[in-house]
Each structure stands twice: as structure tokens, then as C-alpha cells.
């Protein structure tokens, strides 16, 4: 297990390098000229301004040179400077990543909790009312666009009922907690600001639910399908033949086994949401990576695009590693280094 994790950790930088290279090449082979967005259309006719900008952003050098310079900078934590915000990309990311992580982690917690519960109930009462309701709920969650469900819950719970606050991470009149981790939940606690903490939690609830709903949709279907598969296995009959109660059979014997294929889906969802929470972040005015990525793409902001891509790639790699570790913890058949046997 330890050797396995070490091996995977050693492979990480190489995989990341692949991600970086692809991201770098892709942005440089897109036809549009980033200079336009740096100096504006009108200045493009001014050769002096153009040349100065080229030099300043290193665009005058050959592609391999640019790549090497970029890699060298990355190693020292320098992701370059955003064309758009004129801030170091690393700093932009550090400010925005915790916001996204906080939202995505909350969404994953809600989404998997509901997803597993619904999936188990749907499998247990297959073909019944609960199964059909769960199917409908999952279908809406997985297929309804977030701008629709997001606006819907905002309208109902914030505007109409007034139970929950509107967009933003914390009450507009409150001061954001001093930056320690960037997670407002943690930072308000560290500052001993209970009112702030409460406000942060309430602000988190709607966007996390909207995002979590999509996760619930996917996870509940996966859990249901693998529960049905597991419930037809002979060891389930054997557990019942021991005199185990239905609840025990369902949770102790079936769910554990059904979680194996589900772990992969959960890991994938997590990685996807890091950069895929764009719409939710936009609707809920959430200053995260997703909205940053959209602005970067719109502005042809190369350093920012590559930076976001690296974060997204790293998220996938880390989620993958965590999934594999979770797999190895749950399934004794997974041996050091490789997934063995059936």
C-alpha cells in the first residue's frame, strides 16, 4: 500500500508535465493573436507598441524557448502574469482555488450522501414509488442545466421564501475573514467570527445543493445499478441464510461491494467540478476557478488559461490517486501496485 502510493506519487510530476505541455501547445496553436487582448484593437497598428508588448510577454521568442522559459518559471511557482488582470496567475489561482474547493467539497458531500441514500433505496424498492421518484430526481439533477436549477432555487429559497441568502460567499455587509486558508468556513472559525461562519454556511448551501444535485443524479444511478448487481450475488443469499436482517444485508454486505464501482464516479465528479462549476459560480457570484477560466478563455489570456488547465489536470490526477487509494482500502483484492484478480 505504501509502496503503491509512493509509486503513484513519483509518477505524478511526469503526468503533470504532460498536462502542462498539452495545455501550452494548445493555447499557442489557437489562431487568434493574444496581443489583441493585451493592447487592444486600436494599438495593433502601432508597431512600436506591438513590439514592446511582444518582448514584455516573451512572445517574440521561438516556441521551444517560450516553453522552456515557462517550465523554468513554473518550477519556481511563477505561472506568469495574466494579460487581463495584470496579476501573477499564481496569485489569482491561490485566491480563487479555495473558493471553488470549498464549494465543490460541500457539493460532493451533499451529492454523495444523497446519491448513495437514494441509490440504496431505489435498489431496495426497485420498481416501486421510491425508485421512480429517485429516478426522476436523478434525471433532473443530471440533465437540468445549472442556470435553470440555480436560478430556480435562488428564486424560491432566497427571493420568495427568504430563508437563505442570495449570491456571494458571505453577507455583503460583513467583512471577509482574513486570508489564512482561503476557505471562508475555516477562516471565519480561525478568526472566532461565529456570525461570519453562520453566514458562510448559509451562503454555501444553495450553490452546493445545485452543484451537488448533479452529483446526486450520477451517483444515485450508479449506486442503484451496482446494488442490483451485488444483490443478485450468492454471498448476499449466504448472508441471508445466516439469519442477517434486511438492513444488515443491504448496508453491511451489499452497499460495501456496490461502493467499489461508485468510488470511480465520485472521484471523477470531484475532478470535473473543479473546473466545471462555471455556471454555478457565475449564477451565485462565486469568485472561483470556473468563472476565472471563462474570463481567461474569453480574453485569450494565455498564462491564465495554461494555469487553469494545470490546476484542472492536477485535480484529475489527485482525484484519480485518491480514488485508487480508497479502492485499495476498501477492496482487499487490490494488491500493492496493481489491481489483482476479479
Amino acid at each position: 500500500m505504501f509502496a503503491y502510493v509512493t509509486k503513484r506519487l513519483i509518477a505524478m510530476p511526469f503526468l503533470l508535465l504532460g498536462v502542462i505541455t498539452v495545455a501550452f501547445l494548445l493555447t499557442h496553436f489557437t489562431a487568434a493573436d493574444p496581443l489583441t487582448s493585451i493592447i487592444g484593437e486600436r494599438q495593433m497598428n502601432n508597431p512600436e507598441v506591438v513590439e514592446a508588448a511582444r518582448q514584455r510577454w516573451g512572445l517574440d521568442r521561438s516556441l521551444p524557448e517560450q516553453y522552456l522559459v515557462y517550465l523554468g518559471n513554473l518550477v519556481t511557482g511563477d505561472f506568469g502574469t495574466s494579460f487581463r488582470t495584470r496579476q501573477p496567475v499564481a496569485q489569482d489561482l491561490i485566491l480563487r482555488l479555495p473558493a471553488t474547493l470549498e464549494l465543490v467539497i460541500a457539493a460532493m458531500m451533499l451529492g454523495t450522501l444523497f446519491g448513495i441514500t437514494l441509490g440504496v433505496l431505489a435498489a431496495r424498492f426497485r420498481g416501486g414509488v421510491i425508485d421512480n421518484l429517485a429516478r426522476l430526481f436523478a434525471l433532473i439533477g443530471a440533465s437540468a442545466p445549472v442556470f435553470w436549477s440555480g436560478l430556480l432555487v435562488l428564486f424560491v429559497f432566497s427571493v420568495q421564501l427568504g430563508w437563505l441568502p442570495g449570491p456571494g460567499r458571505i453577507d455583503a455587509r460583513a467583512v471577509a475573514p482574513p486570508f489564512v486558508t482561503g476557505f471562508f468556513t475555516i477562516d471565519t472559525l480561525l478568526a472566532g467570527d461565529w456570525t461570519g461562519f453562520r453566514s458562510v454556511l448559509l451562503h454555501l448551501l444553495l450553490p452546493a445543493s445545485v452543484l451537488g444535485w448533479t452529483v446526486t443524479g450520477i451517483v444515485s444511478r450508479m449506486v442503484r445499478a451496482s446494488m442490483l448487481d451485488v444483490l443478485s450475488q450468492e454471498y448476499i443469499l449466504a448472508a441471508r441464510a445466516k439469519g442477517a436482517s434486511p438492513v444488515r444485508v443491504l448496508l453491511h454486505h451489499a452497499l460495501r461491494n456496490a461502493m467499489l464501482p461508485t468510488l470511480t464516479i465520485i472521484g471523477f465528479s470531484f475532478a470535473y467540478l473543479i473546473t466545471g462549476a462555471v455556471l454555478t459560480e457565475t449564477i451565485f457570484a462565486w469568485p472561483g476557478i470556473g468563472s476565472y477560466a471563462v474570463s481567461a478563455a474569453r480574453g485569450l489570456d494565455h498564462p491564465a488559461i495554461v494555469g487553469v488547465t494545470i490546476i484542472g489536470g492536477a485535480a484529475f490526477l489527485i482525484a484519480n490517486l485518491l480514488t485508487d487509494i480508497a479502492y485499495a482500502v476498501v477492496d482487499p483484492r487490490v494488491k500493492l501496485g496493481a489491481k489483482a484478480g476479479a
Binding site: Y235, L237, A238, R248
Partner: protein, 334 residues
């Protein structure tokens, strides 16, 4: 004689079809009696309703099954029990051994945990530590070497024979009165088969339990069972003491099964002496269900289903039992 340990009377199990139309009978009017301290063999080709009968005893059939008839365990009617009451019987008074030890153990739990679970389900007063200690004792009982270490291992670390021993240990966890072994050796090598049968017989002797030994192989029954029932197409067609049936089978089907057994001087198993295949559950023939495959068939067999009747020491469902019993030739010659 006191009340038998297990008495199945006129058991019929039907499965509703998907479209909710016709229900097919997998088991029809089965009678079966098992005494304490003896092994009763239930023999028949695949699909003859052996497993369905045994799962009916455990009340573990799927929702689509309808059970009629009576199943008495030590004088207690099981078919009248609620699921909650039945759970107190499963694993406590009846132990069940499955055909394939590769699939009958949960891959994510250690063997020790699974045996300890069987103990703790029925003995809420036994703590985790004691249950694990008991699991180790049980592994020792079924002659698994190094039981302390084995208890902490997962099923995939066990060989097939060792897994089946573990399954038997699990079935024995609460010292049941009755063991149902549904083809316990079918999935195992021949040498391992003999060891497992020896183990079951030893448990019977030491604990005086009754054992139902389900198999499609008459040879397995020969060594250990005292009495047997032959099943065909969901019915018992012949039953009696093993010695009597082996000496003179009264049903052509039994005769064919016996002739299919490898003889002492033969290394390879002989081809089945019975031509054809058993009828599917959805197309059971009229009259005697065996008549399409039977060399002794007469007109009466096609129209009138024979009922079990005593012929000498044996109960048999065949119009021509006397002729079959007296025939010294083989089935193919008949």
C-alpha cells in the same frame, strides 16, 4: 420414532412469469423426511428442483415464488412463520452450505469476520472478541490449519477447498440441528470432494445433526447417505435406503443414473446412460414426466402420471417399477 427433524409434505413451488401470466411449477408435491444424525441424499439432474426445494425450507426464494404445502422443522411449521421469526431459524437451527464457495463468501470481509457475524447475529450477548475466538474455534473444527492467521485473511486468499471448509464453519457457527448442503462439492476437485464429504460425515457423527446432501452425482451419496430421494422434473420419483436403491433401482431414471456412475475398474466417467435432456419447467410432458426418455415406456405412461407407491422396501413413482427392478440388463438394452 419421534417427530422427524425435517418433514416436507406435498411441497409445491411455482414461479410467476414476468408477464404475470401462467405460473410454472418448479417443484410439485414433494415429500421429504430427514432424521437427526443421518444424511439424506437428494439426487437429480440440474433443473430438477433440488435447490428450489431447499431454498423453500429456508424461505429464501425470490418474491415471484409461491409456496404450498407443509415444511416442519422438529414439529414446527416453517411456512407459517414471518420473516422475522424465520431469521431466528436461518443460521441458528438450519445451516446452509452453497454450491460454489468462490461466490458464497463476501469478498470484502475477512473469513473470521464472516463467521463471527454468523455467531453474533444470533447471540447478541457475545462480544466481538468472543465471536472472533469462536470463529477461530470453528475454523479449527473444520480442520483449517493455522486458524488464528486464517481468520484474518480474505476469501481470495483461500483455496477452493479451504473456502468450502470456511463456509461449512459458518453454517456450523450456532450448532444447528440441520445442515443443508446444496451440491457442496460440485465446484471442487475430486480429491477435495472426498475430504469435504468426510468432514460433513464427521460433523454428523460428532454433533448428531441431520444433513440434507443435495447432489446431481449418485456417487457422492453412496458413501455417506443412509437414505435418499431421487428427483426428476420437480418431483420425487424414488426414495428409500441407499443400500436398497443401489441394490435394485425401481425407477428407470435411477437405474440410468446408477449406470452412468464410473465403475471401479474404469478411470473415466461413462457417458450418461439416459438419452435426451430433462424437460424445461415450461413444457413438462403429460403423464409420467420421464416418459419421453424412458425405454420402458408403455401407453399408460403417456396419459397417467404415476404416484409414489411402496414396492418392496422402496417408494417409487413408476407404472413399471416391478419390471424395472427385476431387469438385470442395462437401461440401453431395455
Amino acid at each position: 420414532m419421534s417427530a422427524p427433524l425435517l418433514a416436507i409434505r406435498d411441497l409445491t413451488v411455482s414461479f410467476a412469469t414476468r408477464r404475470g401470466g401462467h405460473a410454472f411449477q418448479a417443484v410439485s408435491g414433494v415429500d421429504l423426511t430427514v432424521q437427526s444424525g443421518e444424511v439424506h441424499g437428494v439426487v437429480g439432474e440440474s433443473g430438477s428442483g433440488k435447490s428450489v426445494t431447499m431454498l423453500a425450507v429456508m424461505q429464501l426464494l425470490s418474491q415471484s415464488a409461491t409456496i404450498a404445502g407443509s415444511i416442519m422443522l422438529d414439529g414446527q411449521e416453517l411456512t407459517a412463520l414471518s420473516d422475522r421469526q424465520m431469521r431466528k431459524i436461518r443460521g441458528a437451527r438450519i445451516g446452509y452450505i452453497f454450491q460454489d464457495p468462490m461466490t458464497a463468501l463476501n469478498p470484502l470481509l475477512t473469513v473470521g469476520e464472516q463467521i463471527a457475524e454468523a455467531v453474533r447475529i444470533h447471540r447478541g450477548d457475545v462480544g466481538h472478541k468472543h465471536a472472533v475466538a469462536r470463529a477461530i474455534d470453528l475454523l479449527r473444527l473444520v480442520a483449517i490449519p493455522n486458524p488464528e492467521k486464517r481468520a484474518n485473511q480474505y476469501p481470495h486468499e483461500f483455496s477452493g477447498g479451504m473456502r468450502q471448509r470456511a463456509v461449512i464453519a459458518m453454517a456450523m457457527a450456532n450448532e444447528p440441528d440441520l445442515l443443508i448442503a446444496d451440491e457442496p462439492t460440485t465446484a471442487l476437485d475430486v480429491t477435495i470432494q472426498a475430504q469435504i464429504m468426510e468432514l460433513l460425515d464427521q460433523l454428523r457423527r460428532e454433533k448428531n445433526i441431520g444433513i440434507v446432501l443435495v447432489t446431481h452425482d449418485l456417487g457422492v451419496v453412496a458413501g455417506v447417505a443412509k437414505s435418499l430421494s431421487i428427483m426428476y422434473a420437480g418431483r420425487v420419483v424414488e426414495r428409500g435406503l441407499v443400500d436398497d436403491v443401489f441394490a435394485a433401482p425401481h425407477h428407470p431414471y435411477t437405474k440410468g443414473l446408477l449406470e452412468s456412475l464410473p465403475q471401479m475398474d474404469e478411470r473415466v466417467e461413462r457417458l450418461s446412460a439416459i438419452a435426451g435432456a430433462p424437460p424445461p419447467i415450461s413444457a413438462r410432458p403429460s403423464g409420467c414426466p420421464f416418459h419421453p426418455r424412458c425405454p420402458y415406456v408403455i401407453e399408460r405412461c403417456r396419459s397417467e402420471r404415476p404416484v409414489l407407491r411402496p414396492v418392496g422396501p422402496i417408494d417409487v413413482a413408476c407404472h413399471r417399477a416391478e419390471i424395472v427392478a427385476a431387469d438385470k440388463g442395462t437401461l440401453q438394452d431395455a
